[in-house]
């Protein structure tokens, strides 16, 4: 089975460094940063670009820090629901 290509974005200032995403990722995509965020937590970062977009990390992330994208495969498209994540998200779906 060909691997699907995915991508995650992590809101590092919201991250509390619980490491649950790290343990839950089947791809070992994520690691903890050495840096602290402003709240004093080490935060999760992408270590290897092998994400499959399986959403495991995001599902298990308590603080909803993780947004997941996945390669289009001709499936019905999801409507983005990003309105309150951050103000400067720009989303372009289907060229819109």
């Amino acid at each position: 089975m060909a691997k699907v290509k995915g991508e995650v974005k992590i809101a590092i200032e919201t991250c509390k460094g619980c490491e649950l995403c790290i343990h839950e990722c089947p791809q070992e995509t994520l690691v903890m940063s050495d840096e602290l965020n402003q709240r004093g937590y080490h935060y999760a970062v992408v270590a290897i670009d092998n994400c499959t977009g399986c959403t495991n990390c995001a599902l298990v992330c308590p603080d909803a820090c993780i947004t997941v994208y996945r390669e289009q495969r001709g499936k019905k498209k999801l409507v983005a629901q990003l309105s309150n994540i951050t103000e400067n998200v720009t989303i372009t779906i289907d060229g819109r």
Partner: protein, 184 residues
């Protein structure tokens, strides 16, 4: 003399026990002392602080909102308490933890590279002792030797073997504060 100090940081940085040492030291030196922790669920947010009051007469309120000294272990604490230092008072902070340093000009400000010093001492946990050493150098509320005595009271028996290291950290802290302390 009444010295009102708040020590603030993240939970786990040892702010409560730094306060406790200052307080116990006061008890040993026969001062009137009060130690008041922040308590309750706001601790869930990950911050902790304690107010220590050392004096030579009965302590009025154990909770005060303006301080002779603020000891800040992290940015949120510095942000929250900078304004609460009485004019001419002291703001002492852990250097590394602070991105935006304080801006007041009517108080003494000391940045202590305590975490670095602790790592040099091979135990990050003694950061708070370095801070205490520095603080006591700046404000002689209790004698450094008294702080060592207080360690015997505050640390559980099984940790007494760590006291020599703590003592070193205290000394190191004192060394990090150079020169005369005056309000600038």
């Amino acid at each position: 003399m009444t010295e009102e100090t708040i020590i603030a940081g993240f939970g786990g940085q040892g702010v409560l026990s730094m306060g406790m040492l200052l307080a116990y030291g006061g008890v040993i030196e026969n001062q009137e002392v009060s130690w008041m922790p922040s308590y309750g669920p706001e601790m869930r947010g990950g911050t902790a602080n304690c107010i220590v009051i050392n004096g030579d007469e009965p302590i009025s309120s154990p909770i005060v909102s303006r301080f002779d000294s603020v000891v800040a272990f992290n940015q949120p604490s510095l942000d929250k308490f900078e304004a609460a230092v009485k004019p001419g008072g002291l703001l002492l902070y852990e250097e590394e933890a602070i991105l935006n340093p304080p801006t007041r000009t009517d108080i003494t400000i000391i940045a202590v590279p305590a975490a670095k010093a602790a790592i040099e001492l091979k135990n990050q946990k003694v950061t708070n002792l370095v801070m205490l050493g520095a603080f006591l150098k700046a404000k002689g509320i209790i004698k450094p030797q008294t702080a060592v005595k207080a360690l015997y009271k505050v640390l559980p028996e099984r940790h007494h073997k760590l006291i020599p290291l703590n003592e070193k950290a205290l000394k190191r802290g004192a060394e990090l504060v150079r020169g005369e302390i005056t309000a600038n």
